[in-house]
């Protein structure tokens, strides 16, 4: 297996842990983003932190997005006073629709398979036009297009 395949597997594995942590049965695009913030290759993580997005900041933004989206339907998280459920026995391994789209977009952003870099994976997540990730980024005050452009520039600098 090529290095990039190992990298993608490691990110998906970590994303499965993020999904398990948040009680999600499937791995979604925002779990990939959290995984990249933890286990991502250094350059990719640096691009994220340069936008103020470390793992905790992304978690906070996702929490805000959740509450904000619920409020559009008049639902408040504070209204539910149930004990926190136990986590799933094992990390999730099933990719949800948003994660599949992010991976497809990431692969499509490289010209050839052998040109695929860790940054392409992040680019795939950042190219979402709707859904949890763009909304969370907006709530965190992050310019999604500018961040994607920065990832692109990191690829050019790398010579990939």
């Amino acid at each position: 297996m090529a290095t990039i395949d190992h990298y993608i597997n490691a990110i998906i594995e970590q994303a499965g842990c993020e999904a398990q942590e948040t009680g999600s049965a499937t791995i979604e695009a925002h779990h990939l983003l959290l995984a990249i913030a933890v286990k991502g290759e250094t350059g990719t993580r640096q691009v994220l932190t340069s936008a103020g997005l470390d793992h905790q900041a992304i978690r906070d933004a996702l929490d805000r997005e959740f509450e904000h989206s619920l409020s559009a339907a008049g639902v408040s998280l504070a209204a539910f006073d149930l004990p926190r459920p136990s986590r799933a026995a094992k990390p999730s391994t099933q990719l949800g629709a948003s994660a599949k789209l992010a991976l497809e977009r990431g692969f499509a952003s490289a010209d050839r398979k052998r040109d695929l870099r860790p940054a392409h994976l992040l680019l795939g997540v950042l190219r979402a036009q709707a859904g949890t990730v763009p909304r969370a980024l907006t709530l965190a005050g992050v310019d999604q297009a500018e961040l994607a452009a920065r990832v692109m520039r990191s690829l050019t600098l790398e010579g990939g």
Partner: protein, 85 residues
């Protein structure tokens, strides 16, 4: 788009309206996530309180097989004592 238009028995005063389709769609996704979270918590609470799978299934309006498949592994791993029937 206005979420209120979809309510058949709630007035505009009861449900806060969202003007944006994006907000309404995100609300649907968030409500599904919340429903899953509440289900995880509520099923665990019921099973810890000694409910049986058929009781929980009936309360949720799903089959016993469905609720078992979705929750059994997690609850066993969490050490919840499960009633057989």
């Amino acid at each position: 788009m206005d979420l209120v238009n979809y309510g058949c028995c709630m007035s505009a005063d009861e449900i806060p309206a969202s003007q944006e389709p994006a907000d309404a769609l995100a609300a649907v996704a968030a409500l599904r996530r919340l429903a899953d979270q509440i289900e995880d918590a509520a099923v665990e609470q019921a099973m810890r309180a000694g409910w049986s799978w058929p009781q929980v299934a009936e309360a949720l309006g799903v089959t016993r097989q469905a609720v078992h498949k979705k929750h059994a592994k997690r609850l066993i791993a969490a050490g919840v004592k499960l009633r057989r029937r």
